[in-house]
Symmetry: D5
Subunit: 151 residues, 10 copies
């Protein structure tokens, strides 16, 4: 959120406005000389089912090795809030988040997990992964990141 935006906050509206105006932001990586891992969890993802329009809920889990940029967290939160009124499938949502972040950050490696709440008695988690050519540094083991389920 820019300084300008902040000064024109309309009470009862500024959250909605910030989400609508938001663009994912990249910040400079303070330690580009090292391959290190950033792990992020965002438990309040919600969107609408493309088939029925009923709400879906998920936790989005992101692991990445930054190159020149790291993602700015408030813009990421608002980006995730922006799915609230979109109709999108589990598979497409997870892959879209990965595509958008890879485009923004150009990471050395990134994995996105979409850990969706049970629907029709079926639990779904989607894992999508990107690796830059020639990258061979750290990469956390392939495991489950489960929030709010009994797994």
């Amino acid at each position: 959120m820019s300084e300008e935006q902040q000064q024109t906050r309309v009470p009862g509206r500024y959250g909605l406005d910030e989400i609508a105006a938001n663009r994912l932001e990249a910040w400079p990586n303070p330690n580009p000389e090292r391959d290190y891992v950033v792990h992020l969890e965002i438990p309040e993802f919600t969107c609408l089912c493309p088939r029925s329009g009923f709400p879906d809920f998920a936790t989005i889990v992101i692991d990445y090795v930054p190159d020149r940029s790291v993602v700015e967290l408030k813009s990421l939160k608002l980006y995730i809030n922006g799915y609230r009124d979109r109709q999108i499938s589990h598979e497409a949502a997870t892959n879209t988040i990965l595509n958008d972040l890879v485009t923004l950050l150009g990471p050395r490696w990134m994995r996105v997990a979409g850990d969706f709440n049970v629907r029709g008695n079926i639990k779904t988690i989607i894992f999508a992964e990107y690796v830059a050519p020639n990258y061979s540094g750290p990469r956390p083991e392939y495991r489950r990141h489960m929030t709010g389920s009994s797994l």
Copy 2:
């Protein structure tokens, strides 16, 4: 959902339509001769903050002793879905759900807990309770209903 509504489902829209058209329904209590307790948990409540418009998330936990009616579960789920676009405080949402269910069902006793996700590093749970005059039957102990917290 009536048979009629079901026959006119618009693909990609019928969930939204069902939520908009929904009315809380009461069904007859099959065992009104006994004071017994119904415990319900609905983990995917979401509304908008009345101050900022940012989304809030909660689990709604309901305990009640029915008199002549029990609540129909699908209509309850759609009723809860209906808060998705409302701007309402934690205290008001919890009390409103209690008021609406007491009006519909006329229970002997009812308690609603709104277990809200952390905001600004503060965890909030609201407990609101109704008791019919002269009721003295079972009433579960006053305890925490926590979803997704470490308590």
Copy 3:
């Protein structure tokens, strides 16, 4: 199961036959001079939804203070198996189990909890309780009995 029944077992069928032929059995209480509590959990209750015919799953939890009789466990298991093809609501199933056991055993006190799996994102537990006139002995606190949920 009598000796006779056992000798005529049809391979691949005798389980189905035992369930159909079963009657709840009472055995004499070895210690009727004392008010003591029996706690039972039966995690594989399944029946059919009276509205849709889809299967429902629950754990049945029974606490009671026996008077002259205790319930025989194998007949109880088969009795519970007998709900597999019945269409019955959460409230009615829990109250019926309580009624059948009270009729059979004449306990001093009994509580049945039907801890049903989530449906339509709503978790339901039903608690129904019987107390004989003038009984004032031990009675476990009114709390949740949860199997396979994160509560």
Copy 4:
């Protein structure tokens, strides 16, 4: 479920009818350019023991890397419901589910786990896996997926 099927629902019967009429459905994979993993859990599998006819219960856990198709979740749920009256062993049920899904989807990689409830004081889990020729993409570590057990 087609629109047509939906219009002829018989109250108290349509769930049974849907299960009987169901066929597993494949949907197009929205991101076939990427090797990504879909993780599914279906906690309410029940079938009948081929030896005795008594009911068995399990959680079915599926991990796969889709190629051109993903499985449609409601048809999968109904397919799993369809085992309710079949007499089949733990090993055969797990392998059959894998075979049916491989035939339907032609995945790059798939693993099915049948996590069965305790019988005769023995806990059983069956793991069966398929890999397409030349596939070398992501493959979650070989671990336990346990729902409702104390493991």
Copy 5:
């Protein structure tokens, strides 16, 4: 175990001999001027089913307020080991342990819980309690003591 017994230990036999020769022992209560609570758990109770001869397993949990005596722990352990070859029901075992300890110790208050392993898919816990006339001191709340179960 007396010094004498200890000197004649037969390798590979003395455990069996100690269990056979054991008698429950009482020791003097070091603080009889105060009503205080002793809580004991013995997780390796095993006996034989009176109906079939198959082994049963339980955890025995004992709470008591001593009067002039406390139970000696090694003799209690051997006493519990002594049920290994007895055929006895869940109800009778729990009540017998309570009766034997009340006779030995004359406590102000005592409760015994027999937390039995699942049999035929049913979990059983038996609670039996004794209170001396006129006793009105501390008495832990009536709750579950669960070992190795998911409760």
Copy 6:
């Protein structure tokens, strides 16, 4: 935070400024006709030991029944942040928070728990409680509120 304050935010400083300028705020209770309970947890309390100056850490847990006012959450968070540079004992911090909130809100009932991290291998929790004259409504049971401890 007033609109004015918000417009003059100094980058890298405004958090510090907000904490320094903060005053606890009361908002009107939307449902004063009902006795209901608000439960709050604030896990990041830190202050300095009055004896040594070393940092202490705690979770503050607040339960209250509002009368005419509820506490505004952002001002509460900033109030708690304001202890960061104060030297104060466990007992005094917990009682001071209770006194300040009782003065501000005039609640019907309030309890504050200070759940402090281990120091010198000792774990400390302080519970302090206020009740208005003649109040007899709901009051959650006296239990532990533990965050980040193994209790």
Copy 7:
């Protein structure tokens, strides 16, 4: 258990007789064309200490990839019951179970874990493994299978 054995059951004795008469049985593998894993847990192993005669308790955990045979579960349970009166060390019991099952089934791969209860304040788990020549299929990671321990 054959039909014949079943017809001559002596009440109060037939469990003991079945255990004594039992022989481990192999059944045909329904899917020998695939390398798949069977995971079994048997929580009620008990034997006698070879040194003292005191009872020992363990959970036996078995993982294997069948070749032409799978183990029949009731005969396995009775085989495990057969250790009740044997004096055998932790190391020898675990290796003997592995040897007996390898001889019976000729598996492609098998691992047995004996997870013994604490003795003398020491917790012991024994892991023993067999692999057929040239086998290179699935093999679950080397991890702990813990029942009733805090690991």
Copy 8:
């Protein structure tokens, strides 16, 4: 520890010296006008068995309502360390700690729990309680405080 003691610390010895020289200290209660509860847990109690000399381990849990004094925590820790070389029974240790703290602090109410590690396969917890004449303020429910056990 006095300033003087601190200045003469002998490297490799001062801990032993502090424990030997320690005396339990009382500090003034900062809020004597209110009945509030202090909860303390000390997980590293160890002493020697009076019968055999073998080490015993426990967690000591203390709840009290202070009157004019609170206990100083470092002196309490050193007091507990002082049991390391004493031979004392479970019952006597718990009661002695209660007696010493009641003598020092003159509290309105106090309860001490000695949660001892398993010995001879038996788990023991001792609860001892003191109440000043005429005290009727808060008193936490009588429950288990378990550290490091699976209960």
Copy 9:
């Protein structure tokens, strides 16, 4: 802390003084002939956000294989306390701690994880790793170290 520092402690100040005067200390490795792993967790890291000045909280987890030196724990704790008034990002804090410890100790291998509390509904963990040239000894698997989160 040197002997000298210790003798001049100012009551109410010496903790603050020790933190200000502290320098990370290395001690000789008692077993340099072996590649072994030291695992450290420091749960009370707090600093200030470089953007807003609001406090941040984290657990710092360190794994390393020492060469000639190990880190002295009290100096490490004071070093971590020294971040309390610094404005620093999650990424920079984690990398700076790694850089400072690598400079001090010259380890064979080291990994630092900064497990930060949720901010703006996003959970962040940063993993940074150093490996000396030619090192090929033990290196714990790359996994999550979570303190106080529900992960």
Copy 10:
């Protein structure tokens, strides 16, 4: 403990004497033809800090593949008890236990973990490992074995 030692037990002293007289004992490996793993946990290790003399507490976890010998468990427990009055660092204690057991048993592979309780708010675990030349059999994954910690 030899027969002779056992016959001269002094009441109130024999535990202390056994610890003083103890020597670690090796027993023959019953299955030297196989590479199998023994896992041991000993939760009640305590020693004295070499710097201050204050007590330290740890759980010692041992994994090894025996060659010709296995360790006798009672002598191991007494060996661990023998550290109670020694002043030794975390690193040295863990390495010394490994060295003593490698000397005694000549194992094919062994790892010792010293899981120490928190001191000065820092949690420490030390992992030390030995491998015989040319050994390439099973070796459990490098993970944490935590007892009584929240990890």
